[in-house]
């Protein structure tokens, strides 16, 4: 089990995410804004590729291909001296951790991947056993922020005391490697703790708190009806909890909630009075970030203007 006191704030490779980049880029700008304010030493590298997680969970990528691509990204981290790989997406987190464990424990996999590097004259990418540790070198942004709650609380500029908040923790953060998350995987509280440090009124438990967002990788597309039924169940549970703001930690969940909330309102003939944001957007906002130029709220499908005005932020 990870401990908060062991979460690093130096040598962070902020691992870019495909879905953040093209669906919610405000998550990345909010993360770097918050890291700058909190004195986190990080690097964003143009050499890093995607983790292949979407392809892997679409059943297209095989494990060896995903592992080889991951090993190349691990070399990017090592070459730059930023070896604490920290992700904005929960699937990047799970994929990177799993492939690192595989490279460390399976000599045949390591040898196959290294032979490919050698044959392509990319010897500098060679993965040496245990050159990264699957526990000590992999983090999600939410963990870095959690380790900084005291500072976040002190630097907070907004009165969130009458904002009723619920959280959704991403499945691939706390269910894949459930014995290596901060807290109890049956009742995750990382985002709750950060929101509380800013004075928000957080509902720690609601009926379907641990239910998936409903994206389900290919489910959103090949089983759209079921995907929306799951998301509808989740939104109904949030509605019953009477919340105003839902905070999450993964761009795929954010698509499912923010983009599909208006779709569900239409197709299920219902109405929801809550807005959505990522925990990095929440922290950046608390630390004084511009809601448009840093958080990128203007591209959300569920408009945040009314909510922001209510808490005293002009947009």
């Amino acid at each position: 089990m990870k401990q908060i006191e062991n979460i690093p704030d130096r040598g962070i490779l902020l691992f870019k995410s495909c879905l953040v980049s093209v669906e919610y880029p405000g998550i990345e700008s909010s993360t770097t804004y918050a890291f700058d304010k909190l004195g986190v030493d990080y690097l964003v590298s143009d050499e890093q590729s995607c983790c292949t997680g979407l392809g892997y969970y679409f059943d297209l990528f095989d494990q060896m291909s995903t592992t080889a691509v991951a090993a190349r990204n691990f070399a990017v981290a090592r070459k730059n001296g930023y070896t604490n790989i920290t992700t904005m997406c929960s699937t990047c987190y799970a994929i990177n951790k799993e492939t690192c464990a595989l490279l460390n424990s399976n000599e045949e996999v390591r040898s196959n991947v290294n032979t490919v590097f050698e044959n392509a004259e990319l010897d500098d990418l060679t993965y040496k056993q245990n050159s990264l540790d699957e526990v000590d070198n992999f983090y999600h942004v939410v963990e870095i922020l959690l380790s900084k709650t005291q500072n976040i609380g002190k630097l907070n500029t907004i009165d969130f005391s009458d904002v009723h908040v619920a959280t959704h923790h991403a499945c691939h953060y706390y269910k894949v490697q459930y014995d290596d998350m901060i807290g109890n995987p049956n009742h995750p509280l990382l985002i709750d703790t950060i929101a509380k440090s800013c004075g928000a009124d957080v509902v720690e438990w609601y009926e379907d708190k641990t239910l998936t967002c409903g994206a389900g990788f290919s489910q959103r597309h090949i089983n759209r009806k079921t995907s929306l039924e799951v998301t509808h169940a989740k939104l109904e549970s949030l509605k019953n909890a009477g919340v105003e703001l839902v905070i999450h930690m993964c761009p795929n969940c954010q698509i499912q909630y923010d983009r599909y909330q208006p779709v569900i309102e239409k197709e299920f003939e219902t109405k929801y009075d809550f807005v959505h944001m990522n925990i990095a957007q929440f922290v950046a906002l608390a630390l004084g970030a511009d809601p448009g130029k840093v958080c990128g709220f203007q591209i959300h499908s569920v408009p945040l203007d009314k909510f922001l005005n209510r808490i005293g932020i002009s947009v």
């Binding site: 499945c171 799951v230 779709v263 990128g296």
Partner: protein
Amino acid sequence: MTDMMADEMIDTLSEYDTPICDTLAETVKKSLRTSDTIGIDRCMQCGACTASCPAARFTDYNPRKIIKRVMENDISVIEDESIWNCFYCYTCHLRCPRNNSPTQVVQVVRQMAINKGIGLDKLEVLFEYGDAFAELGVSKIPDLYVGQMEDDFDMRWHEFKNNLDSVRSELGLGTVGVKDTGRGEIRAILAGIGFFDRQEKMKQMAEAELNTSDEKGGITNETN
């Protein structure tokens, strides 16, 4: 294992994802897609997986029964349409008291189905994904799926998509994609590891399936 089953299982698109073994349970345990310690042999059919499964809540997918069929070496499980309903949310993986992982098992079962040309109608829209990944080093949502998003989403999303580069620039972010040298590396790595060969075989199988279905006058593309 029967001779018939051995014949059926000769083809594998990846000896690592679906190694050829005497039983389905052995294939599951040896697959690189599953944990080394996966407790499929310890499954006591308690149903905690099904009780907590979002797909079981809304469809006829039943992870407990899928595990039972795998344990009983029932190869027909690869033809069960319900295997394509799993969300890969890993709730069953978390809840199982015997360290089994139905979601990992289903990943292997789907790969075994793909080996037999089953489910390729669902996968062929993804074939552009691998090529786009090699080109930019970035995952790309397939065009057909983007089409669904275009139909579903509001004007805010459309406007944002039409102005992605300028929105990113206003947020202080550069263009999307890996540096040029990195792209060459990714292509070489995917070629060396056999990704493109595997994808080519899948494409050929998908085409053969389509032709067979045309001859029968049927339709294979059942998207819903």
